[in-house]
Symmetry: C2
Subunit: 355 residues, 2 copies
DNA sequence: GCCACCTCAGTAAACGTTTACAGTTCTGTG
DNA sequence: CACAGAACTGTAAACGTTTACTGAGGTGGC
């Protein structure tokens, strides 16, 4: 771990100037003989280019940051999974920030763009405050926001369509004959909480169902709180026959509580989650969920940012990813047939010792 | 997005030298009057320190990289979840690399330490080749390897104990009366594949059970391949009464196939996974799994690296995280009681229209 | 054989900091 | 009031690159 060689070391060993070394290393036109000498010296010394010095001069770090509210949330992980390869393919590294949904931390991340350690930022804030918008306007590098921002905000924006998503779910529940459909939501001052709450009211209206305050309970976006909220709702309205949950974790919490209370899912109460995380397909019973296209949103965000990075300034764009309803056992009662239809052997060909 | 102010801009506006500006910004002893002028100028100009220039001079980037085989694998995500907060608390940023388990990519990451864009690296390679070890020895920054490396390798190392883990699982299955215990493993040339395969053979021996080649099938570490491999094993040995799977995804694939073949889990075939990912608890039936302490390993790795970063060179350390068996329905037949015991209301207090 | 031109290489400045060192101003003492 | 010493500030070099500019050497045309 001694101090590594620099272009000065190479220049000395090859008997040329540092400018020539730089030119050779960057593939600029140079005499064959010089190229040979420099390459040989670089090889012998095990030279590796210093990215920091290079960035200082070129004003490009080839790094991009992704700031999410909570690294434990599978939705963000789904995004990371898509963002990473897109950036990697273009030669960018991914820097991760987990802000715990603290506005001050998010603002900090936006400010820190001025430090120039990244070329751009993808951010997915749970709440968008005025200060967010002000800092955003003054940001020193391209930013893409995942999650809705007020119309007219001059920033690339990738949106989910919670409204249609909730509508899909309620239509589905209504078709199954459910009429007392509860909502277990997250905080109303978050972007998803607000939009899902409004969409719920709207969808009820469209279906001709009354809006009943008792059928709505607010918690946060985690399983444990989801369970608590679902329990509270059940206490108030024991006759509820379906629960629309603002995300999958809440839905899993709700299922826990329903099961503990002796109710069958979906026979007694149907449950719908949102986000279609890995957990939805794997859970028991498998969970009907509204996919808001986390993966697609991540990919779109990365592509928008990359476009800005490579092609420079342009008008901000808004991309909206359409939702999809994935019907599973928590509403239909039927587990989807496994997609792995490898031919299995006969069921019970036991070899003797039977029970 | 114009060019931001530098300490030169501030120096000019405040009427002092750049050295004074730097001193004020770094909190070094300075006359009050100067501090005031500099702070005022910095404030007015909205100055933000350039991290790249600073790193060039200080030779510290306050960034750490984490290189994992596959960003889609929940095990690595569990690690990221633990690594991130530890680093963040110490003022380090996390850079993510997904190498797709390609050795050349991993070597590249190790080499790129020479570029000095990170102060250290945590790496979790699936396979450890001689070239890994050579490059490791020449690495230009502290490295922590998650996953076993040959004894004597001069590198901080965090290990899982697959051997004991597999042993725990087989003991459990044996106690349940299972005697024809299959193994669905990943590739034998990977670190986990090799150790789990060996541990399986050893544990069988300790239990006095014969090792039967037909009971072992190799696939990869994904659900679909797990299903394929389990199907192949079942075709050969339809009488198998338990499946030990090298990770949870394989186990989920196996459950899919068992179900499709009409077998009941665990009545006909008990299934054990490994890694205890989120999916294990959420799946249907919930999956008995051997936790190899992914979270603890991530945390330990981050702490080892941080210690090196803050306290400098020292003898390499090896940390081994003990495994734990989490018994769930895929072997016991009983779903664990939900940990959310919020008091739910009476089961069926419907309001009239009964069924 | 001279000159214009082309190719290539070297010098030096720049990117934005930090910091060693030297220099200046101030404070207090004799 | 002079001077020692303390307290502070400014100059300049350094970190490792890239690159504009200049200059050296070679080639070819007339």
């Amino acid at each position: 771990m001694t101090d590594g060689p620099t272009i000065n070391t190479i220049a000395a060993r090859a008997g040329v100037s540092i400018a020539s070394v730089s030119r050779v290393l960057n593939g600029l036109p140079t005499r064959q003989e010089t190229v040979r000498k420099v390459m040989a010296a670089a090889e012998e010394l095990g030279y590796v280019r210093n990215a920091v010095a290079r960035s200082l001069k070129s004003r490009r770090t080839h790094q991009v940051a992704f700031a999410m509210a909570d690294i434990g949330n599978p939705v963000y992980l789904a995004m990371v999974r898509q963002i990473q390869p897109v950036l990697k393919a273009a030669g960018y590294r991914l820097v991760l920030h987990s802000t715990d949904a603290i506005a001050a931390d998010e603002i900090d991340v936006l400010r820190s763009l001025g430090e120039r350690y990244v070329d751009g930022l993808i951010m997915s804030p749970l709440r968008v405050t005025d200060e967010h918008l002000r800092t955003l306007a003054a940001a020193r590098a391209p930013v893409v926001i995942i999650g809705s921002v007020p119309d007219g905000t001059r920033v690339d924006n990738v949106r989910a369509d919670s409204r249609t998503g909730v509508r899909l779910a309620l239509d589905h529940l209504h078709q199954l004959g459910r009429r007392r459909i509860g909502l277990v939501n997250g905080p109303l001052d978050t972007v998803p909480g607000a939009s899902r709450g409004a969409a719920y009211a709207e969808a009820l209206g469209a279906l001709g169902l009354p809006y009943d305050e008792d059928l709505v309970e607010i918690g946060d976006f985690y399983r444990q709180e989801g369970a608590r909220a679902a329990a509270a709702l059940l206490t108030r309205r024991p006759d509820v026959d379906a629960l629309m949950c603002a995300n999958d974790l809440i839905a899993l919490g709700a299922v826990d509580v329903l099961r503990a209370s002796g109710r069958r899912v979906p026979a007694d109460v149907a449950v719908v989650g949102m986000d279609d995380t890995d957990l939805a397909a794997a859970s028991w019973p498998s969970l009907t969920s509204v996919s808001l296209g986390s993966a697609e949103r991540g990919k779109a965000a990365a592509e928008l940012l990359l476009d800005r990075l490579l092609n420079g300034e342009r008008e901000p764009r808004v991309v909206t990813v359409p939702p999809r309803l994935l019907v599973r056992a928590s509403t239909s009662g039927r587990e989807p047939t496994p997609q792995y239809t490898a031919v299995p052997s006969e069921p019970r060909t036991t070899d003797g010792a039977a029970g």
